[in-house]
Symmetry: C2
Subunit: 377 residues, 2 copies
């Protein structure tokens, strides 16, 4: 299912075949938290943005509309009319960061819904059941996601529990996939490496979970407090310990620079809310760095956000118009910004794939990092 | 420029040729207040919704981004990338309803901007100058828009001033159109009939303003407090007094039923915020009346908003999905609702035009009114 087409230094150009279509990696997954990309971008729009994989959040969908509703509607693909691959997270990250966490126990966690305060229990089995109802292409293991810089003693204990939870996830997923009424019997489970910034814990954990022979592995718990250098250091230690014949997913990362560096260290999959969230706040990504479209200098600027960009926004609208919409609080401003930023990220990945294929990845990376640093003339 | 293709009872099927393209009437103009349709619908999307004319608000654009900015960007067409006809209102209605009105004098009105409180003076000349900067296809005369049920003595005085203002608008527009640096030297001025619910004032005013031989006439100050029957009664008295060889525009109207009745009384142009505003609040127009998509009955309803509808929303998404988006406060929910509702209104006008051409307008009107009244089975 996963085949490496070529390598260029540490960077890999690979292909991952799924029941919902082939994913060309390195890939950036576009975040559609509640089965919708924030900023009024629909699944139908994604074809024009170069999107390969949509990522949805298990916790959010469990509390609204409810995974049973999505199941009744035939799963996430039918529900949001997106027929490519979908990855669902496990709900763990949101439980630890967003919901009112009550208690972590061996069987799972209890917390209060951020919508109506109702007490919810979620453990490995519940997370797998919810993701099975959502019928995503790739389900993520239910893990604990402590701050990467938490104390070592706590991380050690937490990682041991995450390993036990992963074993339970695998058993439950296998059982769910073999049920007669399952929507996607080919649903895949990715394991998640944890261990904070402690390379020894990370490496030991990677060795443990690779034994479970899962179809893919993620590196979680990064980009949550540590420095970029600490993150890259973790990648250099962990990626070589994960199976070479499986895709590697760096969760929640990151800036274009982070992605360029992580690809160079062997990462295949990325996801991040930056292009959507920053877009809604007026920040546009370009090859010359980020522009703040709210800046008065763009008031009568009739150029597109990024000259030469082929996204639906840049093909049709000026900086001056987008700025006016943002200043006026018009939803259309958010939509145009988010479409540009998603296209930028998806197109960045395409350029990365091309560069790896052509054996010029280092040159591409350094040139783009320099251009983003230098800014627009 | 305006030619009647056929009549069916009081209803007219006509064609209005403008410098920015031909308008087939009866037509519903889609309201893009600040040079954008609310609900994240762009000018590029309008082609798929059957839109013929976009309407923008002079007052809003004057205060933000400023009509001088729009002028520098080449006028509204270039600014919002819409290359069909545009109608701008005069700013009068918003001044009287939205801004902090300070004083009405013979030369014009002074008021406070609703954005920054700054004192603004606007009279016939200023309104024409702003609309010339915006470079719309059709500019509306600057009028006073008192409540339709205001006292007769006040309405009489107000209408006399509105007539004097219209004469000044015509002179100013003519002067602006002949300037070398004007963006649209073919900009048209429509006069506006006022008179509240007093037919004698309305009729006398209509006779006065038709003498100015303008390219079109609007009926203003309705749908602001009087009953539907009072409005239809005004139409029956005023429309015959307006030139038969000019289009008639009923401002700010209205519900599908209002439009069906007004077409039957000889109206060509309509505009209203209902499809956008109601869409954003979860109300969808269908041939079986309005649906409130927030209703729990739609939670797992996999039908489109309106079965058989060919709009981008109904072709791609279910009621259940749209409801989920609205309940979650996702912008995409607003976008999908607004696209459906605008398509419904534009398609209603197309059906009206077809019915008039085929001499079955009364039958069409009665059948649709009955279907909307009966509701969905």
């Amino acid at each position: 299912m996963y085949s490496i087409l070529c390598r260029d230094g540490g960077a890999k150009r690979a292909r991952f075949e799924t029941v919902h279509g082939t994913i060309e990696t390195p890939v950036f997954m576009n975040v559609g938290t509640v089965a919708a990309i924030k900023g009024a971008v629909s699944s139908v729009d994604l074809a024009g943005l170069g999107t390969q994989v949509e990522l949805c959040n298990t916790y959010h969908l469990h509390v609204r509309p409810g995974d049973e509703v999505v199941r009744k509607m035939g799963g996430l693909q039918k529900f949001m009319n997106w027929h490519g691959p979908i990855l669902t997270d496990s709900g763990g990250f949101q439980v630890f960061s967003l919901a009112g966490l009550r208690r972590i126990k061996e069987e799972g966690v209890t917390f209060n819904s951020h919508i109506d305060g109702r007490l919810i229990k979620m453990g490995p089995e519940e997370s797998m059941q919810i993701q099975s109802n959502l019928a995503s292409t790739i389900a993520m293991a239910f893990d604990e996601c402590p701050p990467s810089t938490a104390e070592k003693a706590y991380i050690t204990e937490s990682v041991a529990r995450t390993t036990r939870w992963l074993e339970r996830c695998k058993i439950k997923m296998s059982e769910l996939n073999s049920r007669e009424d399952t929507i996607n019997p080919e649903q895949m489970l990715f394991g998640i490496n944890q261990g904070g910034i402690y390379n020894d814990i990370r490496v030991e954990h990677a060795r443990r979970i690779r034994e479970l022979d899962l179809p893919g592995y993620a590196i979680g718990g990064l980009a949550v407090g540590e420095t970029h250098e600490q993150m890259y250091d973790v990648l250099e230690h962990v990626v070589p310990e994960l199976p070479a014949d499986k895709p590697v997913y760096l969760m929640g990362v990151g800036t274009p620079a982070n992605i360029l560096e992580a690809v160079d260290r062997g990462v295949d999959f990325f996801d991040c809310v930056y292009p959507t969230r920053n877009g809604r706040h007026g920040h546009a990504y370009t090859r010359f760095g980020k522009l703040n479209l709210l800046n008065a200098r763009y008031e009568t600027d009739d150029r597109p956000i990024e000259e030469g960009c082929d996204c639906p926004t840049c093909r049709n609208h000026s900086r001056a118009y987008v700025r006016h919409l943002l200043k006026s609080g018009e939803m259309l401003g958010c939509r145009l910004m988010v479409m540009h930023n998603l296209y930028f990220y998806n197109n960045l990945m395409k350029q990365i794939r091309d560069a790896i294929e052509e054996g010029r990845y280092k040159e591409f990376k350094n040139s783009l990092l320099e251009s983003m640093e230098r800014g627009e003339e």
